[in-house]
Structures are given as structure tokens and as C-alpha cells.
Amino acid sequence: MIFHPTILALLTASTLNALVLMAAALFAIGLLRRWNLADGSPGQVILERRTYLVSTAVGLVLLVQFVGLLLFVYNAERMSVLFSGAMCATGTLNVNGYGWPTLMLKMAGVFLAVLWLAVNQADNLARDYPLIRRKYALLLLMAPVFLAEAILQALYFLNLDPAVITSCCGSLFSDAGAGVASELAAWPPRPAMVVFFSVLGLTLGAAAVLWRAGRGGALFGVLSLTQFVVALAAVIAFLSLYVYEHPHHHCPFCLLKAEFDYIGYLLYGLLFAATGYGLTAAIHHHHGRLPSLSGVLPALARRHAGRALAFLLAFGLLAGGIILHSNLRLIQP
């Protein structure tokens, strides 16, 4: 299994990412201890110069992480033919216990990197590096996540045993079984839709308020994250049913198949973009109170909120379109 080219690429990418972040974390420890802007010593100058290297490297890590996440899911989808019982990515991820944790950590990695780049962008706007300590403290938090992801992913791929009969999406995301996935699948469509569209509406409202009036950043941040989780739950609970036009097929991964016009990539892409911009807007708004950033950052926060609003709107319209366009009717009017 290990000689599968995409697996080789994913292992290389994750290892490089983890190594870069471990090196950056070591640098962060030194920086947190010795950083003093008032000091004009050579040590401080070297530290300042190295921050350029680190921020460029983390930018690259984000790019790789993003491509890696896409490739991981796409590859899981492709490899499902290799395992008996697997019909889509769900089955491949189920082959051993490391699949799902790897996917979760990969998603966490993407959002952490987005968060870091947002703080970095704000920090670079001011002359006095107002956020540098927070930025590098955050980096210390990120490094273990990326390291754990690289290790779990390696364990996942090393333990892929083609002889294992895995369970497909039909049994994991069924309304009869136990566990979170089944609970979500068993969520009746009417309350699920009410919750999904209410949270979406609230988030849209908060985005609009932040965009037009420049207020409510923290609320919008919280709502953005909540919306993300609720949206994923909604995909399992009812959105997937409308796409497949089947009342019991709750799989969130079959959406990525060609049979359904790869609609999953669009749906998840819009959701990730909306959440990424939402988090960025919220964090910018929060840091806009700092004296050296108060001139530029609030405006930037509002711009990002506007983008988050656009992506959220597109996501909501797509979800609504799927429901209206489908031949399946879960709710009688």
C-alpha cells in the first residue's frame, strides 16, 4: 500500500509540513523569550529577519496543507475500489482507526493555518509588531497538531490492509446504528432544516452587521464556527439525501463522486471559504482595537466579513437549490 504514488506524495507533504512547523516552533520559543523591540542588539536584528523566513514558510505550509486535504479525501475516494466493502471515501477511512482522526486533524490544520496567516497579516500592517507574541504562541499550538497529523497519517497508510472488510457509508451513516454519525443521520429532516437555516440566517446577519457597521466581530466568529459544524451535520442529516434522491443514504463523501457532478467539492469549497473568511474577519476585528492597528485593520475586517457574507450566501443558495431542485420530498408542504 505504501508504494501508492499519492500516498507517497501525502506522506512527503505531511512530513515536510511537520518538520517546517517543528523548526518554526523552536524559533518561536527563542523569540518569546528574547523578543524586545526596543533593543538594537544584533540578536534582535537576527530575530526580526528570521520572522520573514518563518512567515513565508508557514504560508507555504498552508498551501501544502490545503492541497493535502483535498488530495487525502480524493485519494480515499479513489482507493475505495481496493477494499472490499468500501464504496466511497467513508469505507477507505474506516479501514483502520487512524483514518478519521487524520482527516479531522487535517481540517483543523487548515483552519489553524488560516488563523495564523490572518494574525500574521495584521501584524505586518503595523510598524511595531503588536501581535508578534500572540502569533508565535499560536505557532507553538499549531506545531503539535501538524506533528500528530503527520504521525497519524503515516500510521493510517502503513496499516492499510486490503484484507480487511471495511464498512461502507451505508452502515456508518445509517439512522439505525450507534455513534455520532448515526445520531446525525437519524436527525429528522424538519428540525434539522429549521436549525440549519436559522443558524445560517443568524450568521449571514452577523456578517452583514460586521460588514456594514463594523460591529459584532466576536459574535460573528463564534457563529461562523457554529455554522460550519451545523452545516456538516446538515449535510449528513438531509442535504445528502436531496442530492442522492434517496431517503436513507446519508453519506457526506459520495457527494464528491462524478455521478453527482462533483457537487461536494463546490459545496464544501464554499463552506470552507466562508468559514475561513469569517474567522479572519473576526480575528481582525478583535485586533483592530490595538492602537497601532486601529487605522487599517477594522476596514480590512469589514472587507473580509463582506467576502464571508458572499461565500455564505452562495453556500446557502446552493443548499437551497439542491433541496428545491431534487426530486425527493422529505417534508410535505
Binding site: M1, P5, Y52, L53, L60, V64, L71, V81, L82
Partner: protein, 391 residues
């Protein structure tokens, strides 16, 4: 300045600066392109082979049943067909006759097979061999590989020695179409009587049985039932064959990539070295840029643009060349490793395609390591002190 316009001016400047040192950048581009070309060729070729195999297996029977004797494949007595009886979900059961014939003239094995429609096998006189285009007694249909190596054309006579030493002559009825060559290069189709006298398979025996199952979800259940009724037989599922092909080609491709990893590593060292060894002129240029007010970040971005431009050119050219190599030139560099080592080598055209999974894999295996390898040298160059280089 709007960020986008700023990036565009920076890109303009970078292109001009790259063109000012054509020799150095061209050599790097050349090696980079070669690396991408090799990686992409290996990946494209195996992907195309996998698809070809899958397409060919589409028409294969869902289950092949073999009898085992002392753990080895043995002939299947015809009464097994009755012992099997009717199985729910199975639309058709048929005995097959096929085997290998070693031709000492060219030192290769032919796959000899009897092809006949179901009615004909059941002895229905209404459908005789000529009407269906299948070979009659004393006739043979051969694959392109045999035709090529033995220099045969329809109408020629092929003479083979039977299992008992007696000669058999076959009129070549026709040559199989070229688009099935991956599986039919070494194939020879003959009549069932000829088959039995040529290879010594007694009447009342088949090589194996094939079963067609309409619903793919029932295949495993049917296989289980067969194993219960005929304990000395082994069902082979089409899905299993497909899976085996998939992993064999994956494995070969991965092995090739692992071998190429040495080349990639050497390339990374070259890239690192090139990026580190800034010429005095370049250092002065950066020094001057910084002296006239460029920030470290801007210089860094320019240098990254430089790497990015080289990467994208190399990636595009290398992938394009690999495409031509694999789909139009028949992949002469890798064919031996990926395809196998048979004497009757099939030659076939693959369907050109571009796969996003492959592009992303290639990107992670080439561009990302390159960018990381050049990151530190680029940063060193960008943080150089203006006064130290201009003095």
C-alpha cells in the same frame, strides 16, 4: 497601490531579471523539467494501463470457477455443471476451454482458447461456426502479437505440434482487432475439437466454468454458495481481479517513483546550491533595490516569484512532454518495467487524459520540495544588508 497591480509589476520585474541571466536559469529549468517529465511519465503510464485493464474487464464474467487438485488448478469435469445446479441470481453458467501452447519456433507461449456462443456449446445445429465468425475445425483466429512475430496474415497456414507429437495445420481465418491487443496479443482461438486433439484435454472436461451474475451486490453471496456446493473449487471474482490489477500497477508505479526519488533528491541539492550561490552581481542588485527603498518582504516576494515562474514552466513543460511520451510515443522509457516482460509484447494506444489527482500528487512531489529547498537561500539573499554588498 492595489495589491494585484503591485504583484503584476513585481512579476514583470522578475521576468526581466530572469531573462538577464538566461544560461543559469535555463540549465535549472532543463533539469527541473526532466525531473517532472520522468515522474509524470511514470504516473501517466500506470494510470492509463489501469484504466485500460478496467475497461477490458468490464466485459469479463463476474465469477470464474476453477477446480483444485492438490492445491493446483485442475480440469473441471462436465458433470460439475449439473452438481452446481441452479443458483438464484446467476443468469448463465458455461464451461470454458483454454490453455497454453508453447511454440518453440519463437520461444513464447500462446493462450489457446475455444470461443463459441452458448447455443453452439449446447449443440444446437442451427448455429454453426461459420455463421458466427468463430473458427471452425482446422481454422484459427490469432492475436496481433502472434501474427506479427510469426509473420502471418489471413489465409496463411500455421502448423503446430500437438501434445502427442502429431502435426496440426490451421488456416488463419482472421487476425483479432488491434484495439484489444493488451489482452489478445498472444491469443489463438480454435475449434473445440482441435483444442482437445492439440492439447490433450479429454472429452467431458473443461478448463474452468464462468458464471454471469446480474446484480453486483449478490456476487459474494453466490460465490459463498458455490464454495459450499463444490468444496474442491475456487471462485475468482471479477472485482478481485480488478483489485489485483490496481494494486500491481500501483506497486510498480510506486517502485518506479521510489527509484526516481534519488533523482529528485539530487535535483533538490542542485536547486539549493543554485539558490545559495548568488553571484556578486545579483547580490549587488538586491543591495541596490533595498537601498532605493525595497523592503525585505518585497525582495522575498520577488525571489519567490522567480522560483514560482521556474516551477510552473518546468511543471507545464515536463507534464506536457510526459503526455506526448506516454500517449503518442508509447512510453519507450518505462514500458519494460510497467507492462511486463513477455516475448509477445502487446503494443497498444492508450487513451489520453488529464487527472486532477495526478496533477496534485505531482505538485506535492516536485514543486513543494523545490520551493522548500530554495526557501532558506532565498530568504538569506533577501535579508542581505545593502551597505555590506555595495561597499
Amino acid at each position: 497601490m492595489i495589491p494585484l497591480a503591485r504583484q503584476r509589476y513585481l512579476l514583470d520585474f522578475t521576468v526581466a531579471s530572469l531573462l538577464r541571466r538566461p544560461g543559469r536559469n535555463l540549465s535549472l529549468l532543463l533539469v527541473y523539467t526532466l525531473v517532472v517529465f520522468l515522474l509524470a511519465s511514470a504516473m501517466l503510464y500506470s494510470q492509463a494501463l489501469k484504466q485500460k485493464a478496467a475497461a477490458l474487464l468490464q466485459g469479463a464474467p463476474e465469477i470464474v470457477l476453477q477446480r483444485l487438485e492438490a492445491g493446483r488448478h485442475a480440469l473441471m469435469p462436465a458433470d460439475y455443471l449439473e452438481r452446481l445446479g441452479r443458483l438464484r441470481g446467476v443468469t448463465q453458467v458455461q464451461g470454458r476451454l483454454w490453455g497454453y501452447y508453447f511454440d518453440p519456433a519463437i520461444g513464447a507461449n500462446y493462450t489457446v482458447m475455444v470461443q463459441e456462443s452458448a447455443d453452439q456449446a449446447a449443440g444446437d445445429p442451427a448455429t454453426d461456426a461459420q455463421a458466427t465468425g468463430d473458427p471452425g475445425p482446422g481454422q484459427a483466429v490469432i492475436g496481433v502479437g502472434i501474427a506479427r512475430v510469426r509473420g502471418l496474415a489471413p489465409g496463411d497456414v500455421l502448423s503446430l505440434r500437438g501434445y502427442d507429437g502429431r502435426p496440426h495445420a490451421f488456416d488463419i481465418l482472421r487476425v483479432l482487432p488491434k484495439d484489444t491487443e493488451l489482452t489478445s496479443a498472444d491469443l489463438m482461438l480454435i475449434h473445440r475439437q482441435d483444442f482437445r486433439t492439440l492439447l490433450g484435454v479429454p472429452e467431458g472436461h473443461f478448463t474452468d466454468l464462468v458464471l454471469s451474475v446480474r446484480n453486483p451486490a449478490e456476487v459474494t453471496a453466490v460465490a459463498r454458495k458455490i464454495a459450499e456446493r463444490l468444496p474442491d473449487s475456487r471462485p475468482i471474482l471479477r472485482e478481485d481481479i480488478l483489485r489485483t490489477y490496481e494494486s500491481v500497477f500501483d506497486w510498480r508505479e510506486g517502485l518506479l517513483l521510489a527509484l526516481l526519488a534519488g533523482g529528485v533528491l539530487a535535483f533538490l541539492i542542485l536547486a539549493w546550491d543554485k539558490a545559495t550561490g548568488l553571484s556578486a552581481e545579483e547580490r549587488r542588485e538586491i543591495g541596490i533595490l533595498k537601498a532605493i527603498g525595497w523592503e525585505t518582504g518585497t525582495v522575498l516576494r520577488m525571489k519567490l516569484w522567480e522560483g514560482g515562474l521556474i516551477s510552473f514552466s518546468a511543471f507545464g513543460i515536463g507534464y506536457g512532454l510526459a503526455h506526448v511520451h506516454v500517449f503518442h510515443a508509447g512510453a519507450p522509457l518505462f514500458a519494460g518495467v510497467m507492462r511486463g516482460w513477455s516475448v509477445l509484447q502487446p503494443s497498444f494506444t492508450l487513451t489520453p487524459q488529464v487527472d486532477p489527482l495526478q496533477l496534485a500528487t505531482l505538485f506535492l512531489l516536485s514543486v513543494v520540495p523545490y520551493t522548500l529547498a530554495t526557501l532558506v537561500p532565498v530568504w538569506r539573499a533577501a535579508t542581505v544588508d545593502p551597505d555590506s554588498v555595495m561597499r
